[in-house]
Amino acid sequence: MPTINLNKWILQDLTRLNEQELVDYLFRLKSEVSPVNQDEYSIEVNADRLDMLSLGGIVRALKGITGRELGEPKYTVRDTDYVLEVERVPSRPYALACIVYNVKLNPDLYLKELIQFQEKLHDTIGRRRKKVAIGIHDLQKVEGKVIRYAPVPLSTTFVPLYQEKEMSVKDVLQETPQGKQYGNISVWDNYSPAIMDEKGILSVPPVINSDRTRITENTRSLLIDVTGTNFDSVVETMDLLVTGLAELGGIIGRIKVKGMNVETSPVLRHTLVPFSLEDVNRRLGINVSKDEAVTLIRRMRMEVETGDGLAVVVPPYRVDIMNYTDVAEDIAMAYGYDRFTLESRRGMVTGSLSEKSEIYRKLRTLLIGAGFQEIYTLVLTKSDYQRGEVVRIANPISVEYDSVRNSLLWNSLLFLSNNQHSRFPVKIFEIGEVVRRDESKDTNYANATRLAVAIMDSKVSYEILQSPLHQVLLNLLGIAPSYRRVDNDILMRGRSAEIILRDERVGVIGEANPEILRSFNLLYPVLLAELDLDALRRVI
């Protein structure tokens, strides 16, 4: 979940809410407030509410939920004589620009907040600048009224942000930190996209701006460019930015656009989402009247058309509203999740355990009766411990957990190895899932349920494991298992057998061979058995 930091005093001043009220109301808006220090809050915003990644957006939402302002705010929009000319940029085809006057960036807390908003949009809707990137400039430092978005050769030079000398775009991509991180996103055939004014480059999306038009706390008017690989996302990002600034007093300056499928920018897109009150009430399980519903939606800073049917007029900043279910959620939030009357739904139908769980419980009761301690170990393990075909993780975080277990025996041996100084005998069992290759599955892998039983003591003999396990199986199934001598690469030659139930091989039993013991640093003899519970279930 994205988190933003906001100045406590500015937020309290703009909303006229104290700390507890802020915590409570923001909770109802999916957000969580925690103080960072005496001047700052950290606010966790949910990923769908991109509008709340800014101070302006949070203030707007709070004014609504507290009922102080309803519906969509009327932001001032003024036409300007600036023009954006968009040329063909195959790697990053979409661009918009606009102007915002009367911006407050002083004290620099506001400036920091704007840059934070820009970065949060980059990370969310912008998909780390791949899909959308934003450039913000000081309008006063922009030369001329024509802004161009066009490819430039990598040899083109400009002074990038916070650098002192001219650099070629190529050098910027190779030498600056931003260049290294984002440089290869939109470059093709020795060309890079660029936003330019009469004098030269303003920004090289999605990498870096020019130093010439850098914004400072004294900046009053902004030129904003947004570029990207998806037109709608570019429109939405621009709308989110300018409405956030307008909420804090900015005046939106609309410019003409050439070469895109819109005439002007920002688009300030409104969409209509029709809904029926009945559907909403039925989804939520409440019963609000039409008037109530309209008020609740307006509290969420949206307008409602009440003609033939109801429709939400989704404002430019609510890019998360898709259909009536989203409307239902907003109504529920404004209504208050705490106001829903809860009724117990216990006992309306009967449930059941899975067959796996049923067998698990019966088997473990018998094993406990036979004096074995149940253990529970991790599914991920070290591939070095395992034998046979191992399911490896392609991107492990450590060699200790670089594979999925294909048997429970490795876990049992590891457990015993860890308990050589405990009180003897150590008698353990585990019932759990392992993963095996299985071509019949759509993933080519399948879980298998296994039982592992083990005994470690200063001296052991085959029967001290065989005899209790025999009774466990006999009691579980009413069938006495038989044993067939077989050699196995982890058990001692001549001391291991297959366990057979009704001609089906269901497991192995025997004494661990010294080699495997040593590989687990085990210095005491161990008896082991492993059963395939899926095979066991087939026998029943």
Partner: protein, 465 residues
Amino acid sequence: MLSENELKILDFLRKRKESTSQEIGEATGLPPSSVFSIIATLESKGIVKVISEETRRVARLTEEGKLRAEQGLPEDRLVSTLNGKPAKIQELKSVLGKDFEIGFGWARRKGLIIVENDTVIPKVSSHVSPEYIALKDLQAGKEIEREMLDSLVKRKLVEVKEEKVLKVQLVKDVEVRPAELYLTHEMLTTGSWKNYEFKPYNVEADPPFFPIGKTHYFRDFIEKVKDLMVGLGFVEVSGEFVETEFFNFDMLFQPQDHPAREIHDSFVIEGRGKLPDGDLVKKVKEIHEKWWRYSWSEDNARRLVLRSQTTAVTARVLSGAPRAIRAFTIGKVFRPDSIDATHLIEFHQMDGLVVEENFTFRDLLSTLRDIFQGLGVKQVKFKPGYFPFTEPSVEVYGFIDGLGWVEMAGAGLLRKEVTEPAGVYSPAGAWGIGIDRLAMLFLGVKDIRDLYSLDIEYLRSRRVI
């Protein structure tokens, strides 16, 4: 019932009828203090009677006295070593060791030897000192002369002590049966158990270790959750650890370019899986491209991961187009993370799904409250939330004493974008609950790794209540 030592004394008194504590001690080999205490016990049982009690001076051999009575006095040993012939002092020292000095002194004093330069010349060929005979007499309980006694005391071969002597008499003989340790089948069959005394056990001693079998405490918690869900009318279902991204993400309306789908957020398994037949894949592709505005890749959907959420199981259930169902699953999910006291790279989730014709958000909140009440969380509150596949969405917070409000679950009504491609047209609610964190709260576990402890003594030490 008499003890072994009581029986010894009783046996002795049977032959003598009357005796002293001193004689009893000598006959039974019991130290005087035991003899006195056993006599007192026997008297309290009315078996013996103490006739008189007096203090006597008793002469007893010291440890050295006992040794001399056995080996002979050092001067006698010196004489017998010489065997009538002169010998060098050095030689004698090496034979007699420490005793040479004592024997040499006494032998000269008694005139048994003379010394010339470094040679000892015997005056007699053999000698038995009267002190030796006196020691033997004392051992045999005979009286010896006063003078002799004094000289033996001086030589520290004998000490004289004042001792309490009890004169006791057997007043009542008891029938004494042989003592046995085990009651046997044989004894019970033949009735011979009546003839035996059974030795008492040391019933108050701490017992030796016994390894009992015990269920694993964390699995008990998981089984409790299953019981709760079954009680609420849910059917248990299960899924696989290796899953296609299609069921882990795509079907849940998580776009392929979403940050949560980046490679470092799930464990990747090499290879590709197969996508389900029918319209489902086509519809998922359409809905993704319409809402998330990108080109949906079938190859990405076929990638294999270790499931990062049990909602993948819910997605599988949905793909079977159930008309109505209440299902739950509880199992492991896997996410790369750094491992510490509160984070592991695998943990359990419990996912639930309700598909019912008239299911509402209010019903979902009610169900969640039922679940948490069943788990023992008395107070819950609901916070609006966001998950790509649900709308409305909710996060459940539970109140835990000492901790306050703790986030416990994410839930919501499934989006039509999720249900309709699968052919589910009734409302559906779903949730996911992190089980490990909840278990830690209820089981008093501070370190998540203890839930999967490899230490058997830790498991043995955990109390069950």
